[in-house]
């Protein structure tokens, strides 16, 4: 039982303490650091890798992708991947 409570506590801490925002959910027209992401080679090579800075232009409705800008070049990333890319706002 203690183990279970511990687990719950740890979980609660995580949710309350550290901001865990995905690229999909954060607001547009801001720059973000990539904190963590799914292991996908194509993302790395397009410039979406851990520690990189991306500028989010917008998310598209109806399950559409997120459009980010890297080095002035637009890249669309599907919703389900963008949901798994954890970001932190630059300057925070």
């Amino acid at each position: 039982m203690v183990y279970y409570i511990d687990n719950q506590l740890v979980y609660a801490n995580c949710m309350g303490g550290i901001e865990m925002d995905s690229l999909y959910s954060v607001s547009s027209n801001e720059s973000y650091y990539i904190e963590d992401k799914v292991d996908m080679n194509l993302l790395n090579t397009l410039g979406i890798y851990q520690g990189a800075v991306v500028f989010k232009k917008r998310s598209y409705r109806l399950g559409g992708p997120v459009l980010v800008e890297i080095d002035g070049r637009g890249i669309a990333v599907g919703k389900s991947i963008a949901n798994k890319i954890i970001v932190k706002k630059v300057g925070e």
Binding site: G64, A76, I81
Partner: protein, 585 residues
């Protein structure tokens, strides 16, 4: 990511000793440079992944024979996709020279590949392409500094306009005659290290200058915003349809019909009459429905005007960078059909011809998605030849019939997407797509591409078309057609409500899709019969070449499933429309 997409490679090509490899990111202009160096035209477009296989051509430099190879574009050499595996194999097989093509508008990312290539220690010349667009975007690159950083000559080019290509040729001669010295490439541990190094280099070499956003930049941005992007996309598609349908009609009346009736046909008639053949044979060959008359009239005056305009419109949309933007806007809707937005390009291509469209699905990352798109194209996307015949058939009818046809085809598209998505297990990879620069296609390259497409249409269509016409004549004369008409009467007349001689459209439709429509043009049909005929021929079996490509790209099973599926759906839906129609008449 699942590996499904096969790049077919003849292993012997690795053994060649005098290879010059053209390497670079997707959509940086490798194929344009290849065409310019070798005189051999390769299809290139303004989006990633046009070259899904490698292309080889020989050139002579100072008397020595070399093989230039246009390697499929890759972002890295990690060998995770089949294009990357091919790229790595080529590098490992040894080459005399590597031509590394860099996109000046996106230098940092392109340098990643350049640095990765350096690790193979092959003499390299760097081509800095698209410098004109870079200037438009206010990016100036210090070529000498870049050359120093990379340890190889850097040549600025605007490949589509031929700028800088002579210099590249001269450099290739230099490099292949003198043994060039090599700078050892640094080996990087991780993706991040390579990125850091690329950034360092581009910071040293790039000078951003103040620039005003040009009209094209603003339009490029607007096209990718939901508003007005979606509105513009729909307008562009409607405009494209109007240009093709009405323009094609005009072109047919003004140019192609006179050309056939007053030019080609009299010449052939004169030629054949010279042989003084018996009148029956004369009739079969050059009578009103003679093999040569129909065999020329259908492809040249009925189909070609529309094909011509389609390729004018499609090639423009393809090369200006519009389609990938549309893919992004419509990704949400496409995902409801079980595919991602990037596959929209393959679908649109299918309105030209299903064969390149199915081959183009190699860009999709999963087999599941490739099959879904191929099925959608086979079921509900009429190729341009068939569309032309359908336009001719429906243009005699009320406008609503054409509109109903288009809406019905979209509905079928949606249902086929949903059903195949359910039938095939597995997931689809979401979209990850780079937005290319928006640009006006370069005139010379644009017209050349259209000419190549029209030529290959004539070569590929004329033979089977004549064959189909000959088969039709033989069936008619031998009485086999009557036998088939009796045999299939329960289907053709009983279920579809068409005259029994209409069986010929089902027989010929196997050879080419427009032949599933054209015979209906010569029959006296009621509006309901015309609509049923149009729906059946839209859904009906794909042509022989499509079966070939389905079996080759996937397997016979997929080809058979699609064949049985399209045939059954065509007959069933045709019957349903026939019987519902009867209720209202």
């Amino acid at each position: 990511m699942a590996k499904c997409c096969n790049v077919i490679v003849d292993e012997n090509v690795y053994e060649l000793k005098n290879k010059i490899l053209l390497m670079g990111n997707p959509n940086v202009g490798k194929s344009v440079i290849f065409s310019a160096l070798t005189g051999m035209h390769v299809m290139s477009s303004n989006y990633a992944g046009t070259t899904v296989s490698y292309t080889k051509s020989n050139i002579k430099l100072e008397g020595e024979e070399f093989q230039i190879i246009d390697v499929p574009g890759t972002y890295s050499l990690d060998a995770v996709s089949s294009a990357e595996e091919v790229a790595v194999s080529f590098m490992q097989s040894g080459a005399r020279v590597v031509v590394c093509v860099l996109d000046a508008t996106n230098l940092t990312r392109n340098l990643n590949l350049a640095l990765a290539l350096k690790q193979f220690n092959v003499p390299t010349v760097y081509v800095l392409n698209l410098v004109d667009i870079a200037k438009r975007k206010g990016i100036e690159i210090d070529v000498d500094a870049l050359s120093k950083e990379l340890g190889g000559k850097v040549i600025e080019t605007v490949a589509v306009k031929g700028v800088g290509l002579q210099e590249l040729k001269d450099e290739l001669v230099q490099m292949t005659t003198n043994k060039s010295t090599l700078v050892d490439g640094e080996v990087f541990d991780s993706n991040n290290d390579i990125w850091d190094e690329s950034k360092k280099i581009s910071e040293k070499c790039i000078k951003k200058v103040e620039h005003k956003q040009t009209f094209m930049d603003k339009l490029g941005d607007a096209l990718i915003k939901p508003f007005p992007g979606i509105l513009i996309s729909i307008l562009v598609m409607v405009l494209a349809l109007v240009i093709i349908v009405f323009g094609g009609k005009g072109l047919r009346v003004a140019v192609f019909l006179p050309l056939i009736n007053n030019g080609i046909v009299p010449i052939i008639q004169g030629f054949i009459q010279g042989f003084n053949l018996p009148s029956l044979l004369n009739n079969i060959l050059i009578g009103e429905y003679g093999i040569f008359i129909i065999g020329l009239e259908w492809p040249l005056s009925l189909i070609l005007p529309y094909v011509t305009l389609f390729y004018f419109v499609f090639t423009f949309l393809e090369d200006c960078g519009f389609l990938p933007r549309m893919s992004i806007l419509f990704d949400g809707i496409m995902s409801k059909m079980g595919v991602q937005g990037g596959s929209l390009i393959s679908l649109v291509m299918g309105y030209g011809c299903a064969v390149p469209s199915i081959i183009g699905t190699r860009n999709a990352t999963t087999r599941k998605e490739r099959i879904i798109i191929s099925a959608m194209v086979c079921f509900a996307v009429p190729c341009i030849s068939q569309s032309a015949a359908l336009i001719a058939l429906l243009s005699t009818q009320a406008l609503w019939m054409g509109v109903a046809m288009i809406l019905l085809s979209f509905l079928i598209l949606f249902v086929v997407g949903l059903v195949t998505g359910k039938l095939i297990k597995g997931d689809i990879d979401p979209i990850v797509l780079e937005v290319p620069n928006l640009l006006i296609p370069e005139k010379k390259a644009y017209f050349k591409k259209i000419m190549i497409r029209l030529k290959s249409f004539l070569v590929e269509a004329e033979g089977p078309m004549l064959l189909a016409v000959v088969i039709a004549a033989v069936l008619k004369e031998s009485g086999l057609l009557d036998a088939a008409a009796t045999l299939f009467e329960p289907i053709v007349s009983g279920m579809l409500g068409l005259p029994s001689e209409a069986v010929i459209f089902l027989l010929l439709g196997v050879i080419r899709r427009e032949m599933a429509v054209a015979p209906l043009l010569t029959m006296a049909l009621t509006p309901l019969q015309i609509f049923v005929g149009a729906v059946v021929s839209l859904l009906y079996l794909p042509c022989l070449s499509v079966f070939g490509v389905l079996a080759k790209e996937f397997d016979t099973k997929v080809a058979v499933y699609i064949g049985v599926g399209t045939f059954t759906t065509a007959i069933l839906l045709g019957s349903v429309i026939h019987f519902i129609g009867l209720l209202f008449i």
